[in-house]
C-alpha cells in the first residue's frame, strides 16, 4: 500500500541572531505498510515522527527518497497528479479540540466532504445524509444525538470519534493517527483505540500509528511493525512484541524503561535503563546520534552513525553495542 524509501526532510531556519541553521527532521526513513496492515512509529517529542505523518498525508513535502503509494512513485508527479493518491491517506490529529471547526455542527462538518464525494460518485442529497449517519454509527456515536451538536457540546472522546468519521468520508485506504489518544482521558482511550482496530479488521483500512506511548501502539498493531525513531532516524524496527520483549538498542530500552509500572500487577524489568541528559541538548551530528545520552557509548560510537543492520531476519537495529535487555515490565502471575 505504502512503500517509503529513505525519506529525508530538512528544515532551514533563518534566525536573525543565530543565522541560518539546518535542522534535519528526517534522516532517511524507510518502511512498508501492507494493505490492511499496521505500522507504529515511536519516539519522544521532537524526533520527527509528526513530520513523517505530514509527509505521508501530503501536507508536507520531502526533499529526498521515494514515496510509493499503490505502486506509483509520488515525488516525480505534479501536485495535481499526486492529490488523488494522498486522498487515500487521511490524518487523525492529536487534538480533537482544535481539529473541528467550533462554529459548525457535526452535520455540517461531515456533509461538506461527503457532498464533494457525491459529486464524483453521482450520489444525491439523501445519499449524503444517509452516509453521514452511517459513518457516525460506524464510529460508535448515535446520529440523532450528535448531528445537530457543536463540538463544544461533546466530550473529548466523542470529538475524536467525529474526527475519525470525517476522515472516513472520502473512503481512505490508510489512516494516519498522530498521538490520536494522548489528549483523551485514559478511561476513554481504549474505546478510540479499539475503534481504530475495528476499522482495520472490518474495512481493511491500514493504520500508521504515531505515538510516544508504546502500550497504545501495541494495542493497535500487536501484529504489525514497530519503528523507533530518534532525532529523525529509525534506530530499531521489528515486530511489535519482539521490540517490546527483546529490544536491542539502548534508546529503545530507555523508552521502554520509562513506562510506569502498574504496581501490584507488574514487576519492573530487571535491566531498566535511564538515558543521560535530555533531547534538548544540541550535539554534533557525526557519529551515533544517541551516543551523548547512551549509557554504553564508547569512542567508536563518535566516529560514524551506525546503519540499520539485521539482528535477526525480522528485527533491525542501528547500534554498535546492541544487546537484548529485559527492560519492559513483567506481568505478575496471579495465584488464582
Amino acid at each position: 500500500m505504502i512503500e517509503a524509501r529513505n525519506i529525508t526532510r530538512t528544515y532551514r531556519s533563518h534566525g536573525a541572531i543565530t543565522g541560518a541553521r539546518v535542522v534535519p527532521a528526517l534522516r532517511g526513513v524507510s518502511f512498508s505498510l501492507p494493505k490492511g496492515g499496521a505500522v507504529s512509529f515511536i519516539g519522544e517529542s521532537g524526533c520527527g515522527k509528526t513530520t513523517l505523518g505530514k509527509i505521508l498525508t501530503g501536507i508536507e513535502t520531502f526533499d529526498g527518497g521515494e514515496l510509493v503509494v499503490d505502486g506509483v512513485e509520488l515525488s516525480g508527479l505534479s501536485a495535481r497528479r499526486r492529490a488523488p493518491y494522498f486522498r487515500r491517506i487521511q490524518m487523525i490529529h492529536q487534538d480533537p479540540y482544535s481539529a473541528l471547526n467550533p462554529t459548525r455542527t457535526i452535520e455540517q462538518t461531515l456533509e461538506d466532504p461527503l457532498r464533494m464525494r457525491a459529486r464524483e460518485t453521482g450520489g444525491d442529497r439523501k445519499a449524503v445524509e444517509a452516509r453521514a449517519a452511517e459513518l457516525l454509527e460506524l464510529v460508535g456515536l448515535s446520529p440523532e444525538g450528535v448531528l445537530g451538536k457543536y463540538p463544544h457540546q461533546l466530550s473529548g472522546g466523542q470529538r475524536q470519534r467525529v474526527v475519525i468519521a470525517r476522515a472516513l468520508t472520502v473512503d481512505p485506504e490508510v489512516l494516519i493517527a498522530d498521538e490520536a489518544v494522548s489528549m483523551i482521558d485514559v478511561s476513554m482511550r481504549l474505546g478510540i483505540l479499539s475503534l481504530l482496530r475495528d476499522l482495520r479488521t472490518r474495512l481493511g483500512i491500514s493504520l500508521v500509528f504515531i505515538t510516544h506511548d508504546v502500550a497504545t501502539a501495541r494495542y493497535i498493531g500487536e501484529d504489525g511493525e514497530l519503528h523507533v525513531i530518534y532525532r529523525g532516524s529509525v534506530i530499531e524496527s521489528g515486530p511489535t512484541d519482539t521490540i517490546i520483549q527483546t529490544p536491542v538498542h539502548p534508546y529503545t530500552q530507555c523508552l521502554l524503561s520509562a513506562i510506569p509500572i502498574m504496581r501490584g500487577l507488574e514487576l519492573p524489568g530487571p535491566q531498566r535503563l535511564v538515558p543521560i541528559g535530555s533531547l534538548d541538548e544540541r550535539t554534533e551530528d557525526t557519529g551515533c546520534l544517541f551516543a551523548p545520552r547512551c549509557p554504553f557509548a564508547t569512542d567508536e560510537c563518535e566516529v560514524a552513525q551506525p546503519a540499520l543492520t539485521p539482528w535477526d531476519p525480522t528485527h533491525q537495529h542501528a547500534c554498535l553495542h546492541a544487546e537484548p535487555r529485559q527492560v519492559a515490565a513483567m506481568e505478575i502471575a496471579l495465584s488464582q
Binding site: L190, Y219, A258, P260, E266, L279, Q336
Partner: protein, 339 residues
C-alpha cells in the same frame, strides 16, 4: 506467585497534615447551584504522596483548587472544611492570610505549567514578583534558594532565570513550576496533572524529581491525575474520585492489586498495557457525569456499573472502612477477587 502487599496503614491517631472533610463545591448555573465536588473527604499524611485519580469531570481539579481556597467564580465552597496544620481552616482564610498561604505553606503546580508562566517576563522576574507578593525581605536569598532548587531539578540556574517560558521545553517548564511552588518553603505540594502534556521520558524525569523533592524536603504531596500509571509509579496512597464521595481509597499497591470498587476495577481494566493479554482490556462504557447529569440520588456510578442493584438507584453508599487502611463506598459486597 502472589506479591506481598505492604500494608502502610496509618493508625487512627497518626498526624494529618491536611484534612479535607465533607467538602462540597458548587457552581452557579442557569439550573441553580450544581455540585462539582460532593462531600469529598481526603486526609494527607505527612511524608506521604497521595494520588488522586479521576476522569475529566470527576471534580479532581476543582478539589485541588479548593485546597488553595481558589475555586474560580461562579464556583464556591458551599460546605465542609479543609484543615491544614499551622493554617487552620483554609476555607475561612481571606485577604493577606490567604495570599500568604497560597504559594507559602501550600505549593501548587498548575496543570500544564507551560500555560501558567507569564510569557512576557523571564523566569527570574516572575520569581521576584512571587517574592514581593509574599513580602519577602531578602530577595537575594530567595534567588539563591531558587537557584539551588533549579539545580536540584537538573537545570542550569543561570540559563533558566534569564529565559522566557517559550525558550524552555515542556518538561523544563514543568520543573520550573515545581521550583516556584517550593521556593517559599512550602510544606504541602499539590500537583495538578503534572505530566499530562509530556512524553514518556520527560514524564519519568519529572516524576523522579517529584519523588526526590518530596523526600528531601519532607513534604506532604498530593498528585492529581487521570493516569493510574503515574499514581502507580509515585504514590503511597491512592484516592479514586467520581462525582460524589470517593468510591475507593487505600494504599496504592493494594488498591491496584486488588481493587474493591467496580469503578476502580473498570479504570484499571481500561488501560492499554505493554504486557499481558491485550484482549483482556475492557472499554469503560459511558462517560463520567457532568454538572448537569450527575444523579441527585443513589450511587453516582450506577449507570456505568456492571454490578448495579436496585438499591444503588435509591441510596448513596457511604464511604466506610472495609479492611484496615482501605475505605470504599459501594453497596456491592467486597469480594477481594481480582477481575
Amino acid at each position: 506467585m502472589t506479591e506481598t502487599i505492604q500494608q502502610t496503614d496509618r493508625p487512627v491517631d497518626q498526624p494529618v497534615e491536611v484534612s479535607v472533610s465533607d467538602l462540597t463545591v458548587v457552581y452557579r448555573t442557569d439550573l441553580g447551584e450544581l455540585p462539582a465536588v460532593s462531600r469529598a473527604s481526603i486526609d494527607l499524611v505527612p511524608g506521604q504522596i497521595t494520588g488522586l485519580v479521576g476522569e475529566s469531570g470527576s471534580g479532581k481539579s476543582t478539589l485541588a483548587l479548593a485546597m488553595l481556597n481558589a475555586v474560580p467564580s461562579p464556583g464556591r465552597i458551599s460546605s465542609g472544611s479543609i484543615t491544614v496544620t499551622g493554617l487552620g481552616d483554609v476555607t475561612k482564610l481571606a485577604g493577606r492570610k490567604l495570599r500568604h498561604a497560597r504559594g507559602g505553606t501550600l505549593g501548587y503546580v498548575f496543570q500544564a505549567s507551560q500555560n501558567s508562566l507569564n510569557p512576557l517576563k523571564t523566569i527570574g522576574k516572575q520569581l521576584l514578583d512571587l517574592g514581593r507578593a509574599h513580602d519577602v525581605r531578602d530577595l537575594r536569598a530567595l534567588v539563591r534558594r531558587a537557584a539551588q532548587l533549579i539545580s536540584e531539578v537538573g537545570l542550569d540556574p543561570d540559563r533558566v532565570l534569564d529565559s522566557y517560558q517559550h525558550e524552555l521545553s515542556g518538561g523544563m517548564r514543568q520543573r520550573i513550576g515545581i521550583v516556584l511552588a517550593l521556593v517559599l518553603n512550602a510544606r504541602v505540594l499539590i500537583l495538578d496533572e503534572p505530566t499530562t502534556a509530556l512524553d514518556v521520558l520527560s514524564q519519568a524525569a519529572v516524576l523522579d524529581i517529584v519523588r526526590r523533592v518530596h523526600r528531601d524536603s519532607g513534604l506532604t504531596t498530593l498528585i492529581v491525575t487521570h493516569d493510574l500509571g503515574v499514581v502507580s509509579e509515585i504514590a503511597d496512597r491512592l484516592v479514586v474520585m467520581y462525582g460524589g464521595p470517593n468510591p475507593e481509597e487505600g494504599p496504592a499497591t493494594a488498591v491496584l492489586h486488588e481493587p474493591s470498587h467496580p469503578y476502580t476495577r473498570a479504570l484499571i481494566g481500561a488501560m492499554a498495557r505493554i504486557v499481558g493479554d491485550i484482549s483482556a482490556a475492557r472499554v469503560l462504557p459511558g462517560r463520567p457525569p457532568d454538572l448537569t447529569t450527575v444523579p441527585r440520588q443513589g450511587c453516582v456510578f450506577r449507570d456505568r456499573c456492571p454490578l448495579a442493584m436496585p438499591v444503588c438507584a435509591e441510596e448513596e453508599p457511604e464511604l466506610v472502612q472495609w479492611t484496615p487502611g482501605r475505605r470504599r463506598a459501594c453497596h456491592v459486597e467486597p469480594t477481594g477477587v481480582l477481575s
